[in-house]
Symmetry: C2
Subunit: 360 residues, 2 copies
């Protein structure tokens, strides 16, 4: 069979080595006689798995000691409610947002149910093809926090700078779809969060990295299982955590370390993205509409000039083992997500097909 390359935006491709190890250990984890799925979350076996995952993620992202790493449930979307609940306090809070695409828009809509929201800047009128420059952000003095989606999975827009315009206001970043793809200066953020199902592991695990001084301020109606302080104080075991997903995430972290960590991932991701965008830009057969300096290294949406060929394009791709290239239903077209676990051979196979289909 042809090599299969899976370009899904998430849940997404995982390293083959990780899946092979998970398969081999499925019925008996390291001589314990148990599958990881069968272990009590409070037993020594799972505790060791949990602590290794936490430690490895802390090392990979150089998370400072005054930050807690939480493994939660509910996905990035649930955090759109959980973060306001944890951060707005009991006063008359305003949350600032920069609207750069579909996911920041969802965050805005949800946050408006809990606090006043201020859209400090938006790229909506331009179809989310760039990041509004900081000089144009209309920020709120005393805002509870400024929320950014640093990589818009659907729109393919990436914020590759840490803002300074917000001054002392706490930064909250939804990094779901590019976490671990590049180094990040965690100390510049109050909260970093992400659903696991892109660069971390299976859907159902949500990683939250939160500065300790932000804990303990949840509004009274916060479900106790989603109060960051409860989760932090109980090493993510206030509630039974998604144990198997955390185990897989831990295997992914070990794989990342073997590859050379996020610095090496960034090098590869730059190379993969450059290869793919070059093929899309070669002529006007394909089109990516995002301004070049804001193009995502992870999610590459593109359109065929002649959209009547969409079905033929997808069918031909599938024949060649290039899977899940259909764009998100809200924007149409195509999308290639090229996360950490996508090897350059997969991107090259896609580029070969792009050239072939365009008759180049």
């Amino acid at each position: 069979m042809t090599n299969i390359y899976n370009f899904s935006a998430g849940p997404a491709v995982l390293p083959k080595e990780v899946l092979a190890q998970a398969a081999a250990e499925m019925l008996d984890w390291q001589g314990s006689g148990m599958s990881v799925m069968e272990m009590s979350h409070r037993g020594p076996e799972f505790i060791s798995i949990y602590r290794a995952a936490e430690r490895d993620l802390r090392e990979l992202l150089a998370v400072p000691d005054n930050y807690k790493i939480l493994f939660m449930q509910g996905g990035g979307l649930s955090q759109n409610a959980v973060i306001p609940m944890n951060l707005i306090g009991n006063g008359d809070a305003t949350i600032d947002f920069v609207q750069t695409g579909s996911w920041s828009s969802k965050s805005i809509k949800e946050a408006a149910r809990y606090a006043k929201v201020n859209v400090a800047a938006t790229a909506k009128d331009n179809g989310y093809t760039f990041v509004p420059p900081q000089s144009e952000w209309k920020l709120t003095p005393g805002a509870a926090y400024l929320h950014l989606c640093t990589n818009e999975t659907i729109d393919g827009v990436e914020i590759d700078f840490v803002p300074t315009a917000q001054g002392a206001t706490t930064l909250v970043a939804d990094m779901s779809s590019h976490i671990l793809s590049r180094p990040v200066d965690v100390a510049r953020y109050g909260v970093i969060f992400g659903g696991a199902q892109k660069n971390i592991g299976p859907a159902g695990v949500t990683v939250v990295i939160v500065r300790e001084d932000l804990l303990g301020k949840a509004v009274p109606y916060t479900p106790s299982a989603f109060d960051f302080k409860n989760v932090a104080d109980n090493e993510s075991m206030y509630n039974t955590p998604p144990t198997y997903g955390i185990y897989i995430a831990g295997l992914v972290f070990q794989w990342l370390k073997r590859q050379g960590g996020v610095a090496e991932m960034e090098r590869r991701n730059i190379e993969k993205a450059a290869l793919l965008y070059a093929a899309l830009d070669a002529d006007d057969f394909y089109q990516n509409r995002v301004q070049k300096e804001y193009r995502s290294r992870m999610n590459v949406p593109f359109y065929l000039r002649d959209e009547s060929k969409n079905e033929a394009f997808l069918a031909g791709a599938k024949e060649r083992g290039l899977l899940q290239l259909k764009g998100h239903k809200s924007v149409g077209g195509m999308r290639a997500s090229i996360y950490n676990a996508m090897p350059i051979e997969g991107v090259q196979a896609l580029v070969d097909y792009l050239n072939e289909f365009a008759g180049r």
Copy 2:
């Protein structure tokens, strides 16, 4: 190596056949070239897995057509907040509870953050060794609902009747630790919920079975990902669902059907529980404190008369491949959880050891 039998209260033992199939399909689900973990939740492959799981669970529990089955995240504990949010409406609601052990107590504490709670009856003063008779329940006219934990995982108390004392008040049942262990008349309940990690599958999946007329009444601060109506309207894909956990749950449902469904499970569970309780009751070396008619078929807590022998008991058990028998930290002693996936051979092995250790 000796056979291993895992008596964990949850996450807990899974059928070997299920784990073997999951291992075999880990890198390539049915020729798709993808792991289930790597599939888009909106693609045809995962949709087929999801729908089969939903259909099989509906068949196994004979869920009527006017009930929705939701696959959510957050565990049973999160539902202690999510259910009030969805059911109390905007008025001045009271929730009735029958307090039968640790889990109903947690539900009471969490619900009190959202509404008035009325403990209609409690077995607390008796150390949670029985279910207060319905004739003594002091119910609230017009209560939003009556909440029961029909099997107390920590205390080993099971409610084996459907109450009638509440009249027209909606019944809500936390069935986390005995769902699928016996037939249930779903139509008598408004909501049935449970964390998956006992009889369903891996931790991180939460099953909610809700009558349709209860949808659409969530209070305004309900996170949209936890509004039952949003989840129901989107076939549990309002948010990215915990796809791999749902896949494993689906394999468990298929396994249950092959075994003969919940009627056959009940037959086996009665047999297993009888065997174990008989060994505990044989003399006063061991003690289970729950009144016989309320003893759980799933979770069997017990104490050694001479608790100084606890460590020796656990060490000997482990040598014989009898794992995770230590009781919950809040009550001490021992606990054997004998869920659907525990074969009678495992219970027999435990009984043999109980007799041996007691010098019988």
